[in-house]
């Protein structure tokens, strides 16, 4: 067949709803007079299979090589129509859409103006269609092994999930044993199971799985490469070795730190942190004097942390159970939005724990091992209440793990303003990093209770599975492409790419240029816009196509 343009325009009046305000056959007649138009069809329901089959047949029978659909928003059905093109034997990227429903008829009540605008939008879509380029698919092999950094409960759970999915993992942990924070917990309320039992059952699964290779006292030194083909250097004692992975999961958890500057006092024998209390609860026999009155202070930092709330509540119950003391929890806010947390709160109340809500931080003084607290309950403004206890438990700030900055620079990923890992887009892709093939799970990137964190472990395992399960990935080859003859290797794009998807390649023995890694590219087009040599072409969103949509500005409306 010759290479001439043969455009097919498919108009959809959305179940006759739009044809009430506009004469579709008039539009059709106008369009038919334009150059290169092979076919114009009016449909009422292009979103239905039957209409799509007809469309597919029209494309095939009439040798249409560019398709314009004027219908609803591409956000809804762009993929649908791309599939139609695919089935009709036309490259799916040769589709151009005019959004005449959401962004025209539904929003512009003035009939004539809406009709006029629809026409402009269709003509623009046609002009854009002329400039479209095919983007071919390609398959590339990926390494199926997964590296999990952090052998706490979340990392361990992710490894177990992946082993069930038959993917091999290397689980590296900087401490000498797996388990992380769970080793320090005295209880797991509201769960009835103990931390020891949870860990024992998980570790058994890990040991029994042929798919999990555990490296304790090990750390990640360096990672090169891209999704599907990461090359990691791992250090264990004096030994350093290299392993290849297709994906990396970070589950490095959090650290807890007592912020004395926030409280204005230091810890002592009568003032302990939640972590110290957990130690006491784990071995109550070692305690010289069981406290009669225990006070908790939480959320002084105003972070409304789930971890802190959960920790205060379950340890208050722990104190009741192990020491039988009177317990009072002073808080600014409690975050009880997790599964079972509301019940945990009620359990505390039912066991006699008193809650006191403050707005201004309480005044604390210590005298002969006795703690005096002055606090104003928000329900009784203006009234200073005086309490005393022989053990005061203070919350700790949840801070990023000490190695997060190191891992950030090794993996070239982002940190949020607090220093936790930065999600790609917190709403859309909560477990994705800014880089393809690198995922986050658990408290290293979000404030989660245990159940949520374990859910994330499963989610992240599935995300890795989706990427690696087939051992090869279908990608869109060279949708964004750097012309090696125009590239000046100025590094602008490499520095600007938010997904770290551009690498340098050697063209011949002397010339090096930047090159897009198709699997890692997420199609934002930032590189295309920043290139000072205009050497980067984004086929789906080329300058020509964008400029084509600027034509006729001023000519119609």
């Amino acid at each position: 067949m010759d290479n001439s343009l043969r455009l097919g325009v498919f108009l959809c009046d959305c179940g006759n709803t739009m044809s009430k305000t506009i004469d579709f056959s008039a539009i059709k007649a106008k369009l038919e007079r334009l150059d290169d138009i092979e076919y114009v069809a009016i449909s009422h329901d292009l979103c239905l299979i039957k209409a799509q089959e007809a469309m597919q047949k029209d494309i095939r029978d009439r040798g249409i090589n560019r398709v314009v659909v004027a219908a609803c928003s591409p956000e809804l059905h762009e993929h649908t129509f791309m599939n139609v093109l695919q089935r009709a034997g036309v490259n799916p990227h040769l589709l151009s859409m005019a959004n005449i429903r959401e962004q025209c008829f539904w929003t512009h009540p003035h009939k004539e103006k809406a009709a006029e605008k629809a026409m402009v939008q269709i003509v623009l879509a046609i002009n854009r269609a002329r400039l479209l380029e095919p983007v071919e698919k390609a398959e590339i092999p990926v390494n199926q092994d997964v590296l999990i950094v952090g052998g706490g409960i979340v990392g361990t759970e992710a490894a177990i999930e992946l082993s069930h999915l038959n993917l091999k993992t290397t689980l590296i942990e900087k401490e000498a044993a797996l388990g992380g924070k769970l080793n320090l917990f005295a209880s797991l309320y509201p769960l009835q199971i103990t931390p020891e039992e949870v860990l024992a059952s998980k570790l058994k699964q890990v040991t029994e799985s042929p798919n999990i290779d555990v490296l304790t006292s090990a750390e990640l030194i360096d990672v090169r490469g891209q999704a599907g083909n990461f090359v990691a250097r791992i250090k264990r004692g004096d030994e350093e070795f290299v392993r290849n992975f297709g994906a990396v999961i970070l589950a490095t958890g959090y650290d807890a730190q007592f912020a004395s500057q926030l409280y204005g006092f230091e810890t002592s024998t009568s003032i302990v942190t939640l972590s110290q209390l957990e130690e006491m609860l784990k071995s109550p026999a070692e305690i010289k004097k069981i406290p009669r009155n225990v006070g908790f202070i939480t959320d002084v930092s105003d972070e409304h942390s789930r971890i802190s709330t959960l920790s205060a509540l379950r340890n208050a119950l722990g104190v009741k159970e192990k020491f039988g003391s009177e317990v009072c929890i002073l808080c600014k806010n409690l975050k009880v939005d997790g599964a079972g947390l509301e019940k945990l709160y009620h359990d505390c109340r039912n066991r006699g724990v008193i809650f006191l809500k403050f707005d201004k931080p309480p005044k604390i003084s210590e005298e002969d091992g006795e703690i005096h607290i002055q606090v104003e309950d928000v329900l009784m403004p203006g009234e200073q209440m005086a309490l005393s206890c022989d053990l005061l438990v203070v919350e700790e700030m949840v801070i990023p793990p000490s190695d997060s900055e190191t891992l950030r620079s090794i993996l070239d990923i982002g940190l949020d303003p607090q220093g936790f890992y930065q999600d790609n887009n917190i709403h859309l892709y909560p477990t994705f990093s800014n880089r393809e093939g690198i995922f986050f799970a658990g408290n290293c990137h979000a404030d989660l209770d245990l159940i949520r964190a374990l859910t994330e472990a499963s989610n992240v395992a599935l995300s890795a599975y989706r990427l690696l399960a087939q051992g090869r990935v279908t990608i869109e080859a060279e949708n964004v492409m750097i012309d090696p003859s125009k590239c000046r290797f100025c590094l602008t794009c490499i520095r600007a790419c938010p997904h770290n998807a551009i690498r340098e390649v050697q063209v011949d023995h002397e010339k090096r240029v930047a090159q897009i890694v198709d699997l890692a590219c997420q199609g934002c087009g930032i590189c295309t816009a920043v290139c000072p040599a205009k050497a980067i072409r984004f086929k789906d969103w080329s300058d020509d196509q964008i400029l084509a949509e600027l034509e006729l500005v001023g000519a119609y409306l």
Binding site: S73, P74, A529, I546, L550, G554
Partner: protein, 141 residues
């Protein structure tokens, strides 16, 4: 362009496909009207918008330009919205140099579900550009 004698500006809105474009759709779902003379151009990220696109839009007759991207710290492509912001600043300067009021270009952020906000932005821009009058470099048709 000028149907009833009154000045109807040509406004181009470059809309990020992850935020502002669905927001414009959402205005449609909610049947919230905004001026017809806003032309939405879908881009994969506000960071795709080049200063050249903005300059050329004026060459082609635009009276005002909006670049609409994701809210800060919620950009689908991490830094695309921040880049768009600084690029619009650059475009303001380049346009001022050419004798065109830099106020004709603005970068704003939106979330997918902010249909009413989109309509409000579109209407406000329309009023602002009406106030400024036609672009001084509008080609004569």
């Amino acid at each position: 362009m000028n149907t009833e004698g009154a000045f109807l500006p040509d406004i181009v809105a470059f809309c990020c496909a992850h935020s502002a474009y669905p927001a414009a759709d959402s205005a449609g779902y909610l049947r919230i009207p905004y001026p017809e003379n806003i032309r939405v151009i879908r881009v994969p990220c506000a960071g795709r918008v080049d200063v050249l696109h903005i300059l050329k839009a004026f060459e082609k007759g635009a009276d005002g330009i909006l670049v609409l991207g994701c809210h800060e710290e919620a950009c689908r492509h991490i830094s695309g919205n921040i880049r768009a912001k600084s690029r619009v600043q650059k475009a303001n300067t380049l346009l001022e140099e050419s004798g065109i009021d830099g106020e004709r270009v603005e970068m704003l952020t939106l979330a997918q579900n902010q249909g009413p906000k989109f309509a409000q932005i579109a209407s406000e821009m329309n009023e602002r550009i009406k106030g400024l009058g036609p672009s001084p470099v509008k080609p004569r048709v």
